[in-house]
Every structure is written in structure tokens, then in C-alpha cells.
């Protein structure tokens, strides 16, 4: 084993389902420790599966998607098109983008970063992995990663918000509300709407502490 380089197949990577089961991440960047910018792979196991979630990169990331195998139906802004293996799709910041597998076993590489800024690992990668550990029954491992991520990314509202979701899913309501309160203190104008819309937190809405926090 040479520590200066590594050889692997994308199929060697873990396949991590999102909490709602709609997405499958193959965490390339995190696995190999690549630091210059973000790069991961997303898999649509079956035709019709979501490969790239519908979103915009509102924080200014530009992205390139590369269809490694299979075929995906991409939506980019107003345009929808079929992207076969070898197709490159460039999504400027803020552009609506989404990809649905048009064939089984469709694999898409996603590369992204902000122009003109030194790239830092985004906490979403660690939270995604932490939630996947939880879903796979490795709750302690997932929670340790949540706590570690909060330590490495202090001061954001997204950190405690995700931690609240994690604990709510685990039935630890006291911890969930403690994290929600921390998130609310950091972004009071945002948290009420996000919390109301988040399926992970729905059960907490019946708790009197919800009304105390959000009115």
C-alpha cells in the first residue's frame, strides 16, 4: 500500500441511503480524503430512482455532473434531456437541477465548489453519513459523527438543526429540543419554517416545547 496514492473502483465505495431512502450516495471524497473540492458519486439502482436531488446551489457552488454509466434524465433550469454515459452536465450556481435514472444502475459523478474560494469540506457530507449510520442501526457511530461535525463546524444553524433531526428520529426529545433551541438562537427567522416542513421533526410538533419555541 502506497500512502501517496490510491486505486479503487466507484463500486468499492459504501452505498449510503438518505433518511427517506430516495437517494444513494457513494462518498468518494470522504473515503479517499480528497481536499481541493467536492466530488462524490450518486447511484440510481433502478430506473425511476432519484439520482441527483432537485435543488439549487444557492450558496454559490458551481457543479459538473458526469454520467459514468447508465442513463439519467436531467432537468437543468427549464431544460430536460437524456444524459447517457459520458455526458457532462454543467450547472452554474443557483440553477435548478435534478436527475432521475432512466436505466437501472445509473451512476453519476458530482463535482462542485465555489469559484474564487478555497474549498472546505461541507458539513452535509458528515451529516448524511451520520444519518445513514443511524438508518443502518449504527446509532452510536452516527451520533459520534454528529457531535464531531458540530465541533468542527461551530456557529452554524444547520449543525444543531441536523443534530435535532437525528435525536428526534431516535426519540430523544429532550436532546432534540436542546439542539433546536441552539439552531433557533442562531437563525430565528429561518428555523420556524424549516422545522415545520421537516418530516424528521413532525412528531415533536405535539410537544408543548414546540409552541414555546416557535409560538
Amino acid at each position: 500500500m502506497n500512502e501517496g496514492y490510491r486505486v479503487l473502483s466507484l463500486d468499492d465505495l459504501e452505498r449510503l441511503k438518505s433518511t427517506d431512502g430516495t437517494l444513494t450516495l457513494l462518498p468518494l471524497r470522504r473515503t479517499i480524503g480528497f481536499r481541493p473540492f467536492g466530488v462524490n458519486a450518486w447511484l440510481g439502482e433502478h430506473a425511476g430512482d432519484q439520482v441527483i436531488e432537485r435543488h439549487r446551489e444557492q450558496d454559490g457552488d458551481e457543479e459538473l455532473y458526469v454520467v459514468v454509466r447508465g442513463c439519467a434524465t436531467f432537468t437543468l433550469g427549464e431544460e430536460t434531456f437524456a444524459a447517457t454515459a459520458g455526458t457532462l452536465v454543467h450547472a452554474p450556481p443557483g440553477t435548478l437541477r435534478e436527475a432521475i435514472a432512466a436505466e437501472d444502475d445509473t451512476l453519476v459523478l458530482a463535482i462542485g465548489a465555489k469559484p474564487g474560494k478555497a474549498w472546505e469540506p461541507a458539513p452535509w457530507e458528515d451529516f448524511y453519513v451520520a444519518f445513514a449510520h443511524r438508518a443502518a442501526g449504527r446509532v452510536d457511530e452516527g451520533r459520534a459523527l454528529v457531535v464531531d461535525t458540530l465541533t468542527r463546524h461551530p456557529g452554524t444553524w444547520q449543525g444543531p438543526f441536523n443534530a435535532a433531526c437525528f435525536e428526534a428520529l431516535e426519540g430523544n426529545d429532550d436532546a432534540a429540543f436542546e439542539y433546536l433551541r441552539a439552531a433557533f438562537d442562531r437563525a430565528p427567522a429561518l428555523i420556524g419554517k424549516y422545522a415545520s416542513d421537516d418530516h424528521d421533526l413532525h412528531r415533536l410538533q405535539a410537544d408543548p416545547r414546540w409552541r414555546e419555541l416557535f409560538g
Binding site: 481541493p36 454509466r69 454543467h90
Partner: protein
């Protein structure tokens, strides 16, 4: 253009015998380095090189076909969906295609730094123009790149080469002098570079 197939990219065959298919330039990507490569006349698909100068980490992903990578003296035969991540910039790496249809996607950047387009991209892009003697086009490509990287000695040196061969001796002398002021090693290169034969006898030739 927001999307295209890797076979629809420009194909620029370089002197080392591999074909460069510019991705970053084609899409105007500013945030990261990304390009595709295919085999040229010699079968090479990734040039033998290190990233010691730029300090880049690189990922080479085989998109199609098969290629034999040599990294730090070790050989690895890779197929579609397989990749090499070269963490240490100092490691020598390169690849030859094992199938004619091979395509490799290369991703690269320097950890902890905002991405800057590499000077070599403009120089590679200007190769077809230089090969055909379209010096004005080759010079324009270098000048455009220098707007963004005014302190790039390799770009200044290569611009001077184009200007020397394109019949602009004063501009060539000026840019060669600036390249050498930034890095004296370019004087050694200029002393042996036949691109400068048209201006070597000019007063003030700096090498």
C-alpha cells in the same frame, strides 16, 4: 452549452501523443480543474508528469475503455468506473490506453487554495493555431490567459515564443525578459529554444 458528451468536446492532439479534450475551458468552469483525455498516435492517454510545481491532488477516472496507469513506478490496469487518486503531488504518474476507445477524466486542484486555471491550459489550447502558423490566434489566446494570470512566467515565456515566430520581435523580447525576471530558469530554456532563433541576434536578447 450546458451539457455535451465527452466525444463532442474539442480534440487537441499534443506533441506527447495524447489527445486533450478541454472540459473546464469549454464550460467556463472557475471552481475546479477538470479535463478529459483520449489516446493519440502513441497510445499515451495521460502524460508522464508530477504535480510538484502546482501542488495539485488529482483523480483520474476511467470513463470508457481500459488504461494502464503507472504511479510511482507501479502499474495498474483500470476499466470504466475505476480511478486513481494521487494525493502526493511529487509522485510521477502517467497512463497508456489499452483500448482505442479509452477516455480518462482528470480532476485536480490544490488543497486549501481557490482554484486558478492552470497556465498550461491556454498553452495547450493554442497548439492547433501554432501548428497551423496562425500566430495572431495563438498570441491572442495567451494574452487572454495573461489577463487573469499576469504573473505567470510560463505563459509569458510561451507568449514570447509565439511572438518571436509570428514576426513581433519587440513584443517577444519584452515578454521573454519579463518571464526571466519572474524566474531565471527561463533564460536557460530560451538559450536552446529554436522558437527564439528569429530574435536571438536582436540587441537585448536576454539569454
Amino acid at each position: 452549452m450546458t451539457h455535451l458528451h465527452v466525444d463532442e468536446l474539442d480534440r487537441i492532439e499534443l506533441d506527447d501523443g495524447f489527445e486533450w479534450r478541454p472540459v473546464r475551458r469549454r464550460f467556463g468552469i472557475r471552481a475546479f480543474g477538470v479535463n478529459a483525455y483520449a489516446p493519440g498516435a502513441t497510445g499515451r492517454i495521460v502524460e508522464e508528469h508530477t504535480e510538484s510545481t502546482l501542488g495539485h491532488q488529482e483523480i483520474y477516472l476511467v470513463l470508457r475503455g481500459r488504461a494502464r496507469f503507472t504511479v510511482d513506478g507501479n502499474e495498474h490496469d483500470l476499466g470504466p468506473g475505476e480511478l486513481v487518486f494521487v494525493r502526493l503531488p511529487s509522485l510521477r504518474r502517467g497512463a497508456v490506453a489499452l483500448t482505442d476507445d479509452a477516455v480518462v477524466l482528470a480532476l485536480g486542484g490544490k488543497p486549501g487554495s481557490p482554484h486558478e486555471p492552470s497556465a498550461w491550459e491556454a498553452m495547450f489550447a493554442a497548439v492547433p493555431a501554432a501548428r497551423e502558423g496562425r500566430w495572431a490566434d495563438a498570441i491572442r489566446m495567451h494574452e487572454e490567459a495573461l489577463v487573469e494570470q499576469p504573473g505567470s512566467a510560463p505563459l509569458l515565456y510561451n507568449l514570447a515564443c509565439m511572438e518571436s515566430r509570428g514576426g513581433r520581435p519587440l513584443d517577444a523580447l519584452l515578454h521573454l525578459t519579463r518571464a526571466i525576471a519572474l524566474d531565471p530558469k527561463w533564460a536557460e530554456y530560451a538559450a536552446k529554444d529554436t522558437d527564439f532563433d528569429p530574435i536571438r541576434a536582436e540587441p537585448g536578447f536576454p539569454a
